[in-house]
Subunit: 404 residues, 4 copies
């Protein structure tokens, strides 16, 4: 008997009709000989709605009360899905994070799991029932309700799959899997049937919007096979698994792009030890997420440092860097929000040294100028003009043989 | 130091603005030298909304899951009100029914309180904080979440006031108190400043819509002084207290009317023992709430039985009575939905025998025909034509000196 | 036959149950021999919700589209109330602002009425039906939908009452009328049965939250009798009418207070012509609403100017004044948010010169210091410490014989 | 320059984030050199919500008022999408059905289009702007607002594409196109890139849930090329076009199944003219939608008539047929809700006579019993046991070479 953890996100349980469809799918999965454990998020945009309510009520929002508030959303969803299952003859039990054995630290609004003791969940499965667990929640060592943070339902599902030694963890969402490129930009993009944990993580980091990076990280750590798939079409999606020899060994698996970043350049920086450290420590202390960093070789004792940050953090980054600029003796700060990042990701790159060269030639031929470059073992990323991003992605997709 | 339990119903916490107003009022009450314990219902119509969601999801709705679902509403309200209090500098702690010590039986969706152990609530008060307790909820002996049923927040508030030996329990609602008559029918009706527990209960039974009977019953049992008042105008409302000699001893305190009932008559019933028992047992088994019952004196071994039921139960009552009719040898069943009930309530009636006579004369003079009569020690109720109810209430209000 | 315009605000039609209660009330008003025209706002907080949606969708929000969006709320409410009326046998017709003949200018989101041609509304009344008109909306000379702005439903109601020469305009809200003081601060405050147009306007300006000033202004201009009353208790409320000799001639009718303002002081201002003009023009251009202004007598060619603004505008006012400060040669700007305003309002003041003196003595006796003073023919306002506002209001209410 | 009508359904504009994604997509489509006209439905489940509100308010719901109510939903969506477009620099104009020139008859709640005069829409396009038209609405010859009924937005889009002679009409929805079978039952089902109008209609009739039949019918009538595609993945979907020789000529294009029907059998019917007519006229008069009808050959002057109806209509159908049964001399009525329908659809069937035989053999080999059969030129449908439906669909999908 196969044990499957099925996680349904907010759009999958957005209204009564969709909840009944999820129940049908759980029943079908059981009919096909599987045991099923379900993890659900709050319905639709309910978490956003609750956070908004809180912000309309108060400017001071204690973490303990925020977690009491937000976890109400998943409670509703678990109870409703259990009713829908009972209604079609499938016995089911709702469990809060606490009842499901999720013990966490006391970092409210973003708690870390300390241990999972899924005894009641296991008993429910063993009794031939379907446990339905509230995602993203647990109970702290102070016996208060805790919330695991955004995308925490993916974490709950992967952790539960690990603790129960499930055969797979299915993440149902509104897209039908992971694509070789964004179909809006490349209409001939294909859905991949398989991808390795490492590739998935690099794609997330490069800007691939689904699945969320957090669940992918836990899945890689614990080697939990993921299946990213659609709760609208219900067709098989993309498996995220251990890399193996049987896997299709394309040199490049996907072209990922990201237009949500901006570039900051600190010019005329004295070339002395500790300068970069001061800049990036200040940004880190302000919770600014720096992505790529490039420092030009210094000729005359001065250098330029460029880096990218989320556009939503650009104002913050500019003012922090500006404040430091004179202090460290730099000549000025410039910013550029009209950039975009294009990345190639592929496990096969490790044994194919020419990928970068081909990438740069392809972009050059297409008349796309490269402004920054960064690489990992299985990824190459280039910063280009935002206006060039669509042709960049399209030509790379074709050049590396990814067109359907 | 005075300890006050303040209970805020759904309309009082319907949106962020109202929640902030409630927080202001709690802060003001503390500034005036009181300790405050708060009980809140779910925001606005959220409980109805959750029940509707459940009915759209499933026809089979296990009680355990319904209670998990519905109690999510009060959790949200407690957390939000705590944030609003923190925001204006009042330390506060949210408590679920379970955390507040409400132990119940396992009758899901309508649980009965077995015991209240408000240790954490008491500690919070003693620490100079405001405990905010989710209304209408508890934890069962099976350690599952339970719901106390409709108007259960009033029960939570009164039970907590009793357990904490509070000085008063304030029920905030959308009306400004209890009136001598419905102001829609009698524009000169006055808000009463005081009323006895017994009068309040009789008024509830006679059709007075606010407060709900359930909280009034518990308050009488435990002698908890109630203050029914408005969270819109915040003016002092009506106290429901022990009857005492200092109380204004009007013979009649209020005229209450009710147009939600219908009359059923079972004609030509053989005058034999056990017939009435069979009829009313059958109605009770079908959860039909019978209010007034009148049986005419029998001349020729047959009799008529008339009774009133809520109009919403009329179809059910008619079909049950109709089915029994031939079985018990009755000649037929007739129904009448165009009736209304007018009642006089007053503690002073006990020592004033002429009230009934005056009532009947007043109605007669106004040309209002009486179809059924029923009395208690401090109440007289008459069934009249629905079309006559407004003049009936108005003339009685004047005749018994209640006009402002 | 009397013609009444009844206007129901958002809380009065917040949900189906309340809409049905409104329909019952309209039917009752007709049974009592009146013709009724209804004006409705959007349900509950729907207007806020629509504005929030818009702000989540876009930062650029063309006025034409905002008005298309927002007026959808009132359309819903008119249609639903018409259904509720039909359901109890009262024929009714919904009308948009355009159908009701509200012609406006093209100032989207805050349009001004140019003309009201209520032909279809009149025809509906003449046919024995109830017209239900969407509040706060019209059609522009460009034939686009327009919105009259916040509290525009009151304007619609008063304008319609004027155009139809109605006998009264009833404004239903969640409070039961206008009080002699805020009952939260003065539990012995009384609801006034009558008040003059002028007093009502001064009370609005002094901080009385209901009714909104805008409707009161139009009512005064057109001499439309208003009846401010509750749709929760339905008891008679407060009439706002022409002042006449038969009116209770209390010297002081009400004590109003306001804690929503802050004080700004510009110190050491050179005593030259045009300085004040520059300051207050700059504030006006930035849409900062200045309330009280006090300028101290100048001894040495310099002076201090103090004024009050809404606290929500304090940051804006401070930065504008700060920027001007050195430019005009002032020595500095100080601000104080911990103030409050207490006002006496009464038509009788005109012929009773000692009111101000009594007010100042009363406050002095209570140990309340006065920081600024401003008067009109029928109002005296003092700025005091915020911490002193409750005793200030309470002692004045008692001193001027307003306690119940 | 190509002109494209893009229609976005409720899930595509369910919240601010999705509305902004739609705006991005419209902008991208324009950047690629197209003129765009947009049609939108109400956000998410708003139409259902409005209907529910109406049913909670009244049992009598005049059509004129229902249409005033429901069309408010699309107005909101048009205004919000216009704001989102302005926000990214795309000029846009919202149009109600009336402003867009949709003239209808006066059949409220289900109006029929009489004429489309899209002058203002055309002008907006010609001015380089994007007209955004409210779906499913128009104005009647009485100048009242009308609603075109469920799935009316598809009709609006197709009619507008026809009137503007657009090159294509794109229907965006939550699925990524039309599949060769339901992927929940056949994981190897493929999305079709092209399908003919006739095939699409037969698939709709056979139970394929998306797109709605109504839009497909209009598209066939007016020969408007449809593109059914996803607003979640944005990948190219399925084109519904004129059948042509270049089209992939599979004998069978898809296997469609439907478990929403039930079977009714009227047994022992006298074999006389007019009997069937009476039965099906009675059902039609009661709005029962009869799908398949089978009458067995009569041996002894009596016959059995079996037919299928939606399960939601089974009770109604049973009582109507039962009431007629004795009247027409039949021996009785039996019903069976545990059936399912499986259909093969394919334009190639016309020239391939053996398809039916192969279908029956395949089902027989799989042990699936056939209870009723019905055919059209390009479709064969069989009623089987509901429990057999999954293997039936799976074996047919394989047998006709449709597996991916």
């Amino acid at each position: 008997m196969t044990l499957v953890v099925q996680k349904f996100g907010g759009t999958s349980v957005a209204d009564p009709e969709r909840i009944r469809q999820v129940a049908d799918h759980v029943a079908r999965t059981r009919r096909h000989g599987n045991e099923v454990v379900v993890v659900v998020s709050a319905m639709g945009k309910e978490t956003d709605e609750l956070i908004r309510l809180a912000s309309e009520v108060a400017t001071v929002r204690p973490g303990r009360e925020m977690d009491m508030l937000i976890t109400a959303g998943e409670r509703k969803a678990t109870a409703l899905l259990c009713m829908a299952l009972h209604d079609i003859g499938v016995p089911a039990d709702s469990f809060t994070g606490s009842q499901a054995g999720f013990l966490t630290d006391t970092t409210h609004t973003n708690a870390r799991i300390l241990e999972v003791r899924p005894d009641r969940v296991r008993q429910s499965v063993d009794a031939g029932r379907v446990p339905v667990v509230g995602g993203a929640q647990g109970v702290s060592s102070d016996r208060d309700v805790t919330f695991l943070g955004r995308n925490g339902s993916d974490v709950t599902a992967v952790a539960l799959a690990h603790a129960l030694q499930a055969d797979a963890c299915e993440l149902y969402t509104d897209v039908s899997g992971v694509f070789t490129a964004d179909p809006r930009v490349v209409p001939s993009a294909r859905r991949m049937s398989k991808i390795s944990f490492d590739e998935m993580l690099e794609m997330c980091a490069a800007g691939c919007p689904k699945p969320a990076m957090r669940g992918a990280e836990f899945a890689r750590t614990w080697r939990v096979p993921l299946h990213v798939r659609s709760s609208f079409t219900w067709e098989p999606g993309t498996w995220v698994v251990e890399e193996d020899s049987s896997m299709e060994q394309a040199v490049v698996s996907a072209v990922v792009h990201d237009t949500s970043e901006a570039k900051v350049t600190l010019a005329g920086v004295p070339d002395k030890p500790g300068i970069a450290a001061r800049v990036f420590r200040a940004l880190a202390d302000a919770d600014v997420n720096v992505d790529m960093i490039v420092q030009n070789v210094s000729d005359h004792g001065v250098t330029d440092i460029s880096f990218t940050v989320p556009r939503t953090d650009l104002d913050k980054a500019t003012s922090i860097t500006g404040a430091l600029s004179s202090e460290i003796g730099a000549t000025g700060v410039t910013t550029d929000a009209a950039i975009a990042k294009v990345s190639l990701v592929g496990a096969g790159m490790k044994s194919n040294p020419g990928v970068a060269a081909t990438m740069f030639e392809t972009l050059a031929t297409a008349g796309v100028n490269i402004e920054m470059i960064s690489t990992s073992a299985i990824r190459i990323s280039c910063i280009v003009r935002e206006a060039d991003i669509e042709p960049a992605v399209q030509t790379l997709h074709t050049a590396f043989g990814l067109d359907a």
